[in-house]
Every structure is written in C-alpha cells, then in structure tokens.
Symmetry: C4
C-alpha cells in the first residue's frame, strides 16, 4: 500500500471529526438572545477543538509527505491516532455542556495526551523505516514541541481539579504553540528540491 | 504541500456540511400532511443553505485551480473559511425551527458575513503569493460581487430586526447573484490554454 | 474544472447519504427481541434506499466516465441531483417509522421522481456538450429505463393513497430494473478501447 | 470503471462508519465520574468495532490492490459488503447501551458473520476475473483465517445465549487473529516488483 491511500482515508476521518463536532451545538428552541447562552461554552470548546484537529491534519500531512511506502505497523499506528482524535467530539461536547467543569476539563486533556502519544508512536514507526539520517529525522530535530506538549497536558490534567481555568489556558497555550506552522519541515523539504 | 491535498480535504468537509444539514429535517412522528408543516420552514432554509454551500464549493475550486503550492498562511486561511461554513447547519436549523424569526435571521447573516470575510482573506493570501499580474488577479478584476456581498449581508443583519422577510430576500438576492457562474475566471483560464 | 473534482465531491456526498441513513435506525433501549420490532420497517426501508443510492452512484459514474470537462450548467445540474438524493434519508426515516403509511409512501416516490428528473436534466446537459454522435448518446440509445422510471414513480405516488403496498412493490420493481448494470454503456466503452 | 473510483467510495463510506460510531457515545449531562459509568460499555464496544472496521479497511485495500478493472458483479458485491459494515454502528450502540446482554451480543455476531460472508463473495467475484493462478489467489492460499472467522462467529452467536462473555471473547479473538497484517499478500506482491 502506498501512502496516498492512507492519507486519503485519514483526510476523510479528520474531515468528518472536524465537522460532526458542530452537531454538539444543539439548535435552541426559542429565539431570545438568552437561548444562545448555553450554546456559548459549547461554541468556545468547538473553536478550540477545531483548531486542534486542524493542527493534527496539518502536521499529519507534513509528516506523511516524507513517507512513500506504508507497512502494517505504520497503518495501525495511524488508526490508533485516528481513534483518539475521534474521541475529541465527545470530550468537546462534555466540556462545553458543563461550562468547563473539573472532570470534563481533565478528560479533555487525557484525550489530547493520548493523541499526542499516538502521534509520537506513529512518528517513531515512520522514523524506524526512514532511518536517522532521513529528511524527516532532520526536520524534526530535537522535536521540542512534540516533547513539551505531553508534559503540558499532564500538568493541565492535574491542574483541572484545582482550577479548570488554568487547564484551559494550558490547552490554548499548546494550540498556539503548534499553530505556528512547522517551518523546519517546510524549509528542509524546500532545500531538497 | 500541494493544493490537491487541500482541495480534497475541503471537498470532504464541504460534502459533510452540505449533507448533515439534512439531519436538521427531523422525521415527524405522525403521517398527516399537517405533520410536515413544521418541517417546511426547515426545508426552505435547507434549500437556501444548500445553494450557499454549493456556491462556496464552486468558487473555492475555481480559485484553487489557480494555486499550485500552499503555504501555512493559505492553509489556515482555508481552515478559517471552513470553520465559518461549518456553522451553517447550526444557523440553518435555528432559522428553520423558529419560522424565520428576527434573531436567527440576523445570526444567519452574521455567519454568511464571517464566511465572506474569511473567503476574502483566503483570496488575498493567495493573491499575495501569485502577484498582481497573475491570472487569478486578472480574473477577479474589481471583484464587484465579492465586495458587494458583505455590504448586503450587513444591511440584511440590521434589517432582520425590523423585517426578517427583507433580510431573507437579501440573502436570496446574494445567492442568485453568485449562482451565475464566475464566467470571468472560466474565460481567462480558457484563454490560457 | 475537470470532471474528477466533480466526481470526488459527488462520491463524498453519496457516501455520506448512504451512511447517515443508518442513524435513523435508533438503538432500542431494551434487549428483548420485541424491541427490534419497531426497527424492522426502518431496516427494510433502509435496504431499499441503500440500493437506490447504490444505483445512482453506479450510473452516475458510468455517465461521468464519458465527461472530460465540466461547465457551470453541468455543475449545478449535478448539485441539483445531489440535493434530491440528500432528502432520501429523511423520507426513508419517515417511511420506516410509520410502517409504510400512505403519505410517507407517496413522499418517498416524490423524492425518487425529482431525483430521476434531476438525473435526466444532468444527462441532457452532458449530451448538449457531447453531441448526438457521442459515445454516451449511443450508449443511452432510446434510454427506455430512464423514461420508464419517472412514469412508474408517478403511478406509485398515486397508488400510495389507495394501497401503499402496490406503491412499495413499484419502487422495488424500478430498483430491480436498474440493479441490472447498464451493459450498454459498458459494452460501447469497451469497443472504444 | 477502474478500481480507484471504487476504492475512493469505499474509503469514504468506511471513514464515515468508523467516525459516526462515536456519536453513540452520548455526552453525559452531569460532571461526576459516575456519569461516565454508562458510557464505559459503549466505549468498550466502540473500541472493538473500531478495530473491526480498521481490519476491513486494511484487508479491503490489500485485496483491491490486486484489481485493475471492476465489473458490475464486483461493484455490487462491494456495496453488499459496505451494507453490512454500515450496520456496525447500530449493533455497537445496542451492545454498549445494554451492557453486553445476550441478544445484542448475538446480533453483533450476526452482522459480523454477514460482513464476513459478503467479503467472501466479493473475494470470489474478484478471483473469478483474475483466475486461479493470479497473484491474489496465491496470496490467499488456503485462506484459513477467512474460513475460520465465520465458523467462530457462528459459535459465538450460539454462545451469546448461554454466556455473552464467551461470545465477546470470541469476537476479540477473531479481531486479534486479523490484527496481524496479512503478510502473505504483502510478501507476494513485493516479490512481484
């Protein structure tokens, strides 16, 4: 199997994940501005999750760009990543519906943490095939962002039980950190051409 | 990343947006003709939104046709556009369920306005790469439709609070204005070949 | 725009239509065999609609196979077809939930009829570009099935109010008629190669 | 029609099936850990079904890799397979919501059994075109896993009524059996190149 197939399937799953989250925005029955109030926290958590899925889509393709052939290990590591990402609509809905309460805030972090670990496993599977001198290995370098994110998630999960707002701020921080596109990979692949 | 990837992902998201809107058409429990009455306004707003998403899909691809390479700025401008379009099922459902009341009518306009602005930003990001003498720049020309639409949306949002019907008429007007395919781009790209 | 883009988008929409129909199969709360009883008619109508969408997907691609370039008219004729097909989950759900009552049975036929008309319009738009001597025109020949289907739908819609079962039988008849793949097109295109 | 079209459509349907299952994870209203209790069995059955759909996607593409041209028989055999797979979200939801009760456990097996039969039919349709000396035929060999699975499903369906836990263990067993990627096909196709 070549990587196009895998990318197309992942694209499909990510497109569905990012779009069905909007179904958690329940249409209110009245027409008052007040009716939109319970929708607001769901909307805010929707924005955050939309950005996270966007980041994963973005990084996933930058990484897959470096892959030609896919073996069974990469394939299942990829499905494992999609599994955790598929839980984002669920935790987003729970978070929004409960106005950012402690437990939903922590669970949101758990899913982000598991997705980050799954991404890390996938990355290692690919590096195992490509070798330490590959373009991807060079592009990743020390992979500071990839290593910092899980640590911040763990801090945020613990912080959730003391102050959900700190946890929320940490999730936003990680998102901002990744929003800046991964110039390293772009630059190295440009040099290649 | 080349533009095919971006188009495929956008296609996926737009296909899902256009299709999940139909889930707002709740299956009535009885079998009387009367049972379909509450479905009618939802159906009408579904038609309007279907056309709007169709227009965006159409124009999006005409524009992307002119793009070869995608940078981080274009990528996030595109996700920003998809974000606002993803809210269309929500405002469509709210509009239909409340028989075109003032506030839902205004919010529908706000989402259309934000999508139009997002489209404008995306267009500018692409033009920034392509330059003022590019085919796309020529094809757009003065971009009268692109500039008129947001103004009409703003008028419609304000009008919603006085007469939702005028707002509705304005949304239909903009849709009709765009339904006429963008001959300019088609013509110029034909000349190219 | 070339036809690949249009096919990919239509594929996406059809894949979603065929799959979200299953959401109308509401998970029963108990575990008795009796609990599955209300699901049965929904399941039967799901099978019929699944086959119809499958037929449309099949014929759509056989037809699109003959198209290279897509103009604005073809594009909107295609979206018009997708619009009517997108209503199939709604009428399927209504039909199944009301145990094949008169009005849902008739409305099911109306949607099938409108989809058939939309398909006819799309076909004519394509033929207008390709000309009367094109492979597609030859492959269609007198297009007996294409002409018979809308007539049978109309009969079925009227019959719904006297005997929903006759209407149901007619819908099954049309489905069977089309299930036999369009050998004509396959044969003619094979000759071409 | 060539096989790319069929693969793209199947990819779309499988991506949607695997993702809409998550909608069965209903967002709880409270924020207690206790609120997650009823979600747990749904989550466990979601994991199992996610793996099953992943296996089908994996094997489907390994098989389709060997196909160049698709005829009407293959096309409908493929839709038949997708039909049974599309029921997985329904039986998964029923299974999870009833804490692995007898009847849902049996019905889960029935859907897996029908999908396995549908896969077998599709495989035979493809082999009929490719011939007994084809790479695919060699790759499949005696197809022990393909023949053992339906038998295990039948045993599990019967066992459901005595002990749902045995049935569950058998479903997990089959999943594990297939999780090991089909090395045979990979190896033979590698030799080809």
């Amino acid at each position: 199997m070549n990587s196009n197939r895998l990318e197309a399937f992942s694209d499909g799953v990510l497109a569905i994940i990012i779009t069905i989250m909007v179904l958690e925005l329940k249409v209110p029955h009245g027409t008052d501005l007040k009716e939109l109030e319970p929708v607001l926290p769901v909307f805010l958590s929707y924005i955050l999750s939309f950005i996270y899925v966007g980041i994963y889509w973005n990084n996933h393709h930058h990484m897959m760009h470096a892959v030609q052939k896919v073996n069974g290990g990469i394939l299942w590591a990829n499905l494992h990543l999609l599994f955790w990402l598929s839980l984002i609509p669920f935790v987003t809905g729970w978070l929004g519906e409960n106005h950012f309460a402690e437990l939903p805030m922590a669970l949101y972090g758990v899913v982000l943490l598991m997705a980050a670990i799954a991404y890390f496993i996938l990355q290692n599977r690919i590096l195992a095939v490509q070798g330490k001198d590959s373009l991807l290995a060079k592009a990743l370098g020390k992979d500071l962002k990839g290593k910092a994110s899980p640590i911040i998630y763990i801090v945020a999960i613990i912080a959730s039980f003391y102050s959900p707002w700190i946890a929320g701020a940490l999730y936003i921080l990680v998102a901002l950190m990744w929003l800046i596109p991964d110039k390293r990979i772009e630059i190295i692949f440009k040099e290649k051409k």
